[in-house]
Symmetry: C2
Subunit: 293 residues, 2 copies
Amino acid sequence: MSKGINITIIGVGLIGGSLALDLRYKYKVNKIYGADKNPDHLIRAKQLGLIDESVSLQKAIELSDLLILAVPVNVSIKLLPGILDKLDKQVIMDVGSTKANLIRSIKNHPNKGRFVATHPMAGTEFSGPEAAIVNLYKDKNVIFCDIENTDNDAHELVKDIYESIEMNILYMESNAHDIHAAYVSHISHISSFALSLTVLDKEKDQKRILNMASGGFESTVRLAKSAASMWTPIFMLNQENVLDVMDNYIEKLKEFREAISKKDEQKIVSLIEESNKIRKVLDKKDEPELINV
Amino acid sequence: MSKGINITIIGVGLIGGSLALDLRYKYKVNKIYGADKNPDHLIRAKQLGLIDESVSLQKAIELSDLLILAVPVNVSIKLLPGILDKLDKQVIMDVGSTKANLIRSIKNHPNKGRFVATHPMAGTEFSGPEAAIVNLYKDKNVIFCDIENTDNDAHELVKDIYESIEMNILYMESNAHDIHAAYVSHISHISSFALSLTVLDKEKDQKRILNMASGGFESTVRLAKSAASMWTPIFMLNQENVLDVMDNYIEKLKEFREAISKKDEQKIVSLIEESNKIRKVLDKKDEPELINV
């Protein structure tokens, strides 16, 4: 291992490409391969220096010490069992935003110990290899799920990987992860998508929106630029949790609506002041509580 | 006027304080006075160099060439008629987020020509004199409403003021302004407040939110830090428009909910792709279309 390890990024988009960028400089890497069903993405990824070479999935398995699944979550579910069939000592990890279904799909697989289920909590609203950026992951949290299913050496390798790019490692049970992800990530995207649709629907003359849009609007609507190919499978696979959160969210909006409709000043004030408590949560972000196993 | 004009900021918070900071360096100002019902704010505003002196409202009217109403919109409605009663050649402008009610409240006032109704589209989620920042307004849009009610000299002065702090000036009818503001600003705040309430409600253990919260969540929930004293009157005064937008927003969320609940992949994709069109609007922001009178 003096030369470093060989890594294949499966899916050379924002998430996989940004990982490649960081690992090349921060980890002991020999070669970074890329596999992607989109040949244009592979060409761009090589031009951008994200990967050294593009390979087929079969070749990737032969050449790599570590395979990183950075495709939409439904594609990971399709690919993972077939890859595990062919693994020997190699390690495979994913970086997807839902976990329970993926882990369930390999529950009885004899090689399931080679898989490490992780969710680095970082991203932008852009996609594709051109969206890759350095230091996307630095100082962010990564959640490892159901680590008791994973072989020790596989766990250690992936821990090393994330520590090298300066992420805080946390551990969670996969179902708990999916519930929490629905609350702090998936609903934010739905609220942005719906906000965008509301405004676009009303403002047929787009220049009007443009003139009036302020920083507040841009901040809440930013996530509405996110790709359908990534988010549709997340909503489908995390359906139950996402629907629960949406119901709560719609409930809160209706509470607001009623208070405004009755001009109930005290109630509006108390809803806003209650919601202001999010400050405490956001302002504490400098000191994350590490739940280590 | 070689010495510059005297200005009183009525309400020395984020909006008024930031204006004071910019005007002191960018406009030909003699003295900046502050009036505020909160004596602590006046003390802090003086310590921070936002104002030269604190004055009573009566004194402010006597001493100033320009009065800037930078208080919550309901307070502006209470104060404006009484101030207009006492004006001679002085000019008074407001900077509030709703316009139709305020303008209606002075519809028959003999001095209404001295008033300039404006809405600088800029702000942050913070409040109070400590929240004041330089260049808050630079390169942002400011909407002038129902300018035909305003005397020419008053219009020219306030235009000068905003041009000095490098804002783009746009003109709109006040009812149209209030509808558009509901769509591109007010609903963003409600969606953030409701998102915060949803997450806080679920995640009694706040550290869990903290661990999982990513940049996307922070961006959509940022506005939930905003002050009830500013936003409650906006929702009350712009009630009708805000309720309309909320109904549309809840409708869009329900469309999403139904598609996810049916696992209707095509429908989810098409909703997301439709919402992605907001990119065009946001990316064009460099070239605002100026609607000059």
